[in-house]
């Protein structure tokens, strides 16, 4: 048998014969190891198989597998695929500083008539994105903030060791598409806003999805919370005022002891009327390489979101909200238990959809519903009406057939 070693074609033998050697070589630098058309490739340690790869490219590990980005909760971003939208459903909204879809908030200080919402424009492998469309368009003032934001809870990044000598490297990846081209950016920062890492990326082709991967060394300085507060803040810049970006490119792609929310030289999406910016597939994982997106079951993703926002749903008149009691002719209390323990006692966001109480003898439309008390797993609501009879039990239900909501939030 003739074995050929070539710098071009590698080590080959006629017919793909197996080459066996007892030669111990400290390091082998090769580009391709080919087991042939029907053989199994084996890697051994201590004279036993550790990894085998068969002719169908199926890999089998004999023992445990340890990887920097764990199999469980690899992606520290929640709702990175933008599928969960409890706040506004599929509706487009105009906000100045609010959560638009679950776990993603938008602040927009500049211009007017900007719109945001969940979109079905998405790259292959995704069904949704978060879209921002500029309204009138204007240049951001020096202290203006225009950005997309997710605060990652400190309890979900306890393993990163940030603020210590053992800080782990992370990789942020996402799919993005814009009608504009040029340099774009964002920031990772801590809850005290005194450590920030402005990152940059380039969109070269307008209206074309591109996947971006940014590797960020772990910060060995500063205080990074591992509590239920903000562990890491992730910002995507839509146009930051000069106060919130480095004074030169030297501050980009490095850790700073400053409160930056964007990178120097970023394109201001808010500066062009009608400009669009789509983002999805957002993933922050441990390690220096972006890996495939962590597709979690929808129910799991929804439950993760419900730690921060719970929308009591209802589409039909009579859809139940909760049970309770009537304590006077004008007041009743009803309770809602949460499917997931929330991060903190939640806020009742805005005014809920119309609600009525029924004490089994009559229905009473509530003129007002306010939060009466809450903790991390339930909330009590006070409903005001008239003509009720005290000390009766009651059911609370949505009054109308429409998209009803009662929103509770404990966002970061």
């Amino acid at each position: 048998m003739t074995v050929t070693i070539s710098g071009t074609t590698g080590i080959t033998s006629p017919g793909g014969d197996i080459i066996t050697t007892s030669l111990v070589v400290p390091t082998i630098n090769v580009q391709t190891i080919n087991a042939g058309s029907s053989n199994t490739l084996s890697l051994q340690t201590n004279n036993a198989n550790a990894l085998t790869i068969n002719a169908s490219q199926q890999a089998s590990f004999v023992n445990n597998v340890s990887m920097p980005n764990t199999f469980g909760f690899k992606n520290r971003i929640i709702n990175g695929g933008m599928t969960v939208s409890q706040y506004n459903g599929t509706s487009s909204v105009t906000v100045t500083n609010a959560y638009v879809i679950d776990r993603f908030a938008i602040r927009c200080d500049t211009g007017s008539s900007n719109t945001e919402g969940q979109s079905t424009t998405a790259p292959t492998g995704f069904i949704n994105s978060l879209v921002f469309t500029t309204g009138t368009g204007a240049s951001p003032g020096s202290s203006a903030q225009n950005r997309i934001y997710q605060g990652i809870e400190g309890l979900n990044v306890t393993d990163l060791g940030w603020g210590t000598a053992n800080a782990k490297t992370v990789t942020l990846s996402f799919w993005v598409r814009s009608s504009l081209t040029g340099q774009f950016g964002g920031v990772l920062n801590n809850s005290a806003f005194n450590r920030s890492y402005p990152f940059t990326y380039t969109i070269s082709s307008a209206n074309t999805w591109i996947q971006i991967s940014i590797t960020i060394p772990g910060d060995t300085s500063g205080t990074w919370l591992t509590t239920n507060g903000v562990g890491i803040g992730v910002f995507f810049d839509l146009g930051m005022g000069s106060t919130f970006v480095p004074s030169s490119s030297a501050g980009n792609n490095t850790w700073n002891g400053s409160d930056y929310r964007g990178a120097y030289g970023d394109t201001a999406v808010v500066g062009t009327s009608g400009a669009t910016f789509y983002i999805t597939g957002v993933q922050l994982e441990v390690g220096a390489q972006a890996t495939s997106f962590d597709y979690r079951p929808y129910g799991t993703e929804l439950a993760l979101c419900q730690r921060y926002c719970y929308c009591v749903p209802g589409t039909t008149a009579g859809d139940r909200v909760g049970g309770g009691f009537i304590f006077s002719s004008t007041g009743g209390i009803f309770y809602v238990y949460f499917p997931v323990y929330m991060r903190a006692s939640p806020t009742l966001l805005g005014t809920p959809s119309p609600i009525s109480l029924n004490d089994s003898t009559a229905a009473y439309a509530a003129s007002a519903v306010t939060l009466n008390g809450s903790n991390v797993n339930f909330a009590a609501f006070a409903a005001t009406s008239s003509g009720m009879t005290a000390y009766r039990g009651c059911q609370a239900y949505f009054t109308n057939t429409q998209t009803n909501t009662l929103l509770l939030t404990s966002e970061l």
Binding site: S345, P346, T347, T351, T370, L371, N372, T409
Partner: protein
């Protein structure tokens, strides 16, 4: 501007309403809306009692000192 909400009879007040959007905020130091409420009233944003009367001066200071 904020207004305290009367609670169920015999229970202490533990909710404040943000009048700009009618959101109801519990007194929980981990709630970011509550954190903003505390910052706001310390910076002079008006706080009303449950009847709609502004709380000012020493009464406001006393109230702030009772907050979690």
């Amino acid at each position: 501007m904020y207004q305290l909400l009367e609670n169920t009879p015999s229970l202490p007040i533990s909710i404040v309403q943000r009048l700009s959007d009618k959101s109801c905020i519990p007194f929980d130091k981990d709630n970011t809306d509550y954190q903003q409420f505390v910052r706001d009233i310390k910076n002079g944003v008006q706080l009303n009692d449950a009847e709609g009367n502004p709380i000012t001066g020493s009464a406001l200071t006393t109230f702030i000192n009772t907050l979690p």
